[in-house]
């Protein structure tokens, strides 16, 4: 609390609290109530929409459901809203559970469309069942001031409730951002498939975000309905509410914990101002400005206000006095050279090869329509071995990896990994957790995360705590020689480093078997040499490796054995020397009659 970084925000919040308690002008109190309530609601939206990148335009479904649940329980059954609020949260959970799994199969704008449709359906149903909801005539909530009813005579109390709500949502947002869930959401927002193959169960991760987000929205809805004391399906379930929640986050800064609060402080007063000053005189004009603002924000400051003010804020902090005696060290534990992670990962003495098969592939086939991508391929790999897979373009190498890593399900045949049948498991994250890690031919870094954070996504596969996960990530970064770039954004580093990062991320998931898909393509000879050493190093720490590669000298010197694929079939298998002299291999690469040339 002695650093400006800690005490300054605290002071700001304290100031706000004092303002709420001391001011008695209804105008200001109404304004601050709306600002804080919407900061909380938009913060709830941001957990799914910002952190997870799932642009819901149907959050009014949760809002309306929460508002109606608590209010109907209050009006019809006399249950106080402070309890009804939790019933509302329960209903929101139920809705999230029902719509989540199907909707998360949809991407981008399709997800938005589905969420709009769901909110519309709820609105229509709320109008239709008028015996319960009073339909379009609206539901009036009796004014019975009491804390249990979340209804008060003084607006200060209302503002205080909204303050608590906003702070609660903010605290949850910060906690998520620093947790495993937060890292996994950020990862799947950038690269769905890569996240999946680093052990992130993307569907459940999104589901967790939706549950939290929907539940918090319902909570805020109860507070709101006890404030206005009147519900009507067309306003409670309206798409305008949903858009507003998204817009507030966007203006403040999408995917940042504090963004929605900043956005709300800007947008809500502006809306109130436009509504009372312009909307009163000229119907619709305030919303023209609002719509124009939305377009302008998207086009001119997609990062939100926070991108503009964060530097100024830092500058301000640096000028504030620090009360701690010593200068605080930036958080950076010195990474150990080769630490406990690699030691614990190594389950047999270095250098000695065990004779047990780690993976066994039997008669594997996969076709796409008429194309036989892989047919009847069988092979096995010994623990601690490096197997190279080569073959001309279109030979089916990547398809084979996709089957081993759970992206595709084979049509025929099976794969046993450490004695366990895995070919039926069509889920990359499950196979990653089982110990098969893979990289992608086209690198898929999480571009908006730092190098360190990228690797932490990998270490979160088996770790829950942030600290432990960071230690592992630093250790791995040290191992692959990327630790001096740990704070750079993944989009800023070179291709060779991105490929290293790809390997580092997957190493952090502690694989037993590593599938490397063309990690050397596009690298300079020196970089190829470094990559070769890295792979040999990885093997020396007890990890079995299968590499797909086109860089022949590298793969020949690396591999204990080489397997050759052509047109989906295994042509041959053997040591490097055997393979290069094999007539069938030469024919596969150069075609018939090459000797005439």
């Amino acid at each position: 609390m002695r650093e400006p970084k800690a005490y300054f925000p605290f002071l700001l919040f304290l100031l706000l609290l004092l303002f709420i308690l001391l001011v008695d002008r209804p105008f200001y109190l109404n304004m601050i109530f709306m600002i804080l309530l919407f900061a909380g609601l938009s913060g709830a939206w941001n957990i799914l929409g910002g952190f997870g990148g799932q642009l819901s335009l149907g959050h009014s479904a949760f809002f309306g459901l929460g508002a109606y649940t608590s209010s109907l329980l209050f009006v019809k059954c006399g249950i106080p809203p402070i309890l009804g609020m939790f019933a509302g949260v329960g209903m929101a959970f139920a809705l999230a559970a029902v719509i989540g799994i199907p909707c998360f199969r949809l991407k981008g704008p399709f997800f938005s469309l589905a969420t709009i449709a769901i909110a519309e359906v709820l609105q229509l149903l709320a109008v239709y069942f008028k015996r319960i909801t009073e339909g379009s005539e609206g539901l009036s909530i009796p004014f019975r001031p009491s804390l249990y009813n979340l209804t008060f005579e003084s607006r200060n109390r209302y503002a205080l409730v909204a303050y608590c709500f906003a702070v609660f949502v903010l605290a949850i947002s910060y906690a998520i951002q620093r947790s495993r869930l937060g890292y996994q959401l950020a990862a799947l927002r950038d690269e769905d498939q890569a996240a999946e193959s680093l052990g992130v169960n993307t569907v459940w991760t999104k589901m967790a975000a939706l549950l939290i987000s929907g539940g918090l929205t319902a909570m805020g809805a109860t507070i709101f309905s006890q404030y206005i004391l009147f519900l009507e399906p067309h306003s409670e379930f309206s798409i305008d509410t949903s858009v507003n929640l998204a817009l507030i986050s966007m203006i403040g800064g999408l995917g940042t914990a504090i963004g929605p609060l900043i956005g709300s402080f800007l947008l809500i007063p502006l809306q109130e101002f436009l509504r009372t000053w312009i909307g009163g005189k000229y119907q619709g004009l305030h919303l023209v400005i609002y719509g124009g603002l939305l377009i302008a924000v998207v086009m001119f400051m997609p990062q939100g206000i926070i991108a503009f003010i964060s530097r100024k804020y830092e500058a301000l902090l640096s000028r504030l006095p620090s009360f701690s005696g010593r200068k605080a060290a930036p958080f950076a534990p010195a990474p150990p050279d080769i630490g406990p992670f690699f030691l614990q990962n190594r389950d047999f003495p270095q250098g000695r090869k065990e004779t047990s098969k780690i993976i066994e592939v039997q008669n594997l086939s996969k076709h796409f329509g008429g194309l036989k991508a892989i047919s009847h391929v069988s092979f096995s790999v010994q623990r601690g071995e490096i197997l190279g897979i080569i073959g001309p373009n279109g030979a089916g190498k990547t398809t084979l990896f996709n089957m081993l890593s759970g992206v595709y399900k084979p049509d025929q045949g099976y794969v046993n990994f450490q004695g366990r049948r895995i070919s039926g498991i069509n889920k990359s994250h499950a196979l990653c957790r089982a110990g098969i890690g893979r990289t992608y031919q086209l690198v898929k870094p999480f571009e908006n995360m730092s190098v360190l954070e990228n690797v932490m996504v990998g270490s979160f596969c088996h770790e829950r705590g942030r600290k432990k996960s960071m230690e592992i990530a630093l250790e791995v970064l040290n191992f692959v020689d990327l630790k001096n770039k740990k704070d750079m954004l993944a989009q800023e580093i070179t291709l060779a480093d991105k490929k290293r990062l790809e390997v580092a991320r997957v190493l952090a998931t502690r694989p037993q078997l590593l599938l490397l898909d063309e990690v050397m393509a596009g690298l300079t000879p020196v970089e190829v040499q470094e990559a070769t050493e890295l792979i040999l190093n990885i093997r020396d720490y007890g990890i079995t490796v299968i590499v797909i590669e086109h860089v022949m000298p590298a793969i020949m010197s690396l591999s204990d054995r080489v397997l050759v694929l052509a047109q989906g079939e295994k042509i041959t298998e053997g040591t490097s020397a055997e393979v290069v002299n094999d007539e069938r291999v030469i024919r596969a690469y150069l075609g018939e009659g090459h000797e005439l040339a």
Binding site: L106, L113, V243, L247, H286, V288
Partner: protein
Amino acid sequence: MIFIQILVNGLLLGGIYALISIGLTLIFGVVRVINFAHGEFLMISMYISYYCYSLLGLNPYWSLLINFPLMFVIGMGMDQIIIRPLRNAPAYMQVFATVGLSILLINLVLFIFTGDYRAIDLPFAKKVVQVGGIYLNYPRLIIFSATVLITVLLYLFLKNTDIGKQIRAIAQNRTAARLMGFKLNRIYMITFGIGSGLVGIAGGLITPVYYVYPTVGVYFVLTAFVVVVLGGMGNMIGAFLGGLIIGIVDSLSGYYIDPSLKETVYYVIFVLVLIFRPSGLMGLVGAEEMGMK
């Protein structure tokens, strides 16, 4: 008999939905943008037809000659001004931008023309023809025929003309099309123009049978989303069939279930289609994953 009458009503209604959806699906298929302001383009063209009639005495069918080119230009303008800078932005940015335009247009019209419901009093619009005990309303018959005609013309245009072929090529593979030297931006702009022009025609044609008011587009565009997803995003024939199906569902569920629940029925269909066959009736499998970035 009543069942057949309802079916026919549904089919005619479906013609309207199909007409509105064809432009939307064309724009999505090529430009890969879901235009949330599509309904507002419909609304604007309805206002154009309304004022052409009430101020100039121009029959709404004649004012199509104004509607199409005007909406064509507006569509191209929207593409160049709003969509072009966001071409490579994440999909949610484009969603936001078009939602913003939709809000802006609705309220601009509300501000200028107020929220009053307006209708043109065309005696012709009330004429009904009876065929074998089934009543058919003239303007709706015209809309239906126009929808069929437009679908065929659009199909021929895409199949046979130079620009049409370029449009189809880009819809299938942008990167390849760019490598072939196509001017992508120009084609996007023209496609956006055509799609908007078509909804302009739709607006003109439905003005005799629907009230004109600022939020009329919202109702239709939500239905159009359902139709487009049902037919398969980017598929013209799919949009046509999807429109007819939704029209029939609308009319049947309005009669047999409850008029106020008919939208619920097709939203449920919509969500089910999104979940179980996101590529729609005729769409390419996996299309829902495209346009993602």
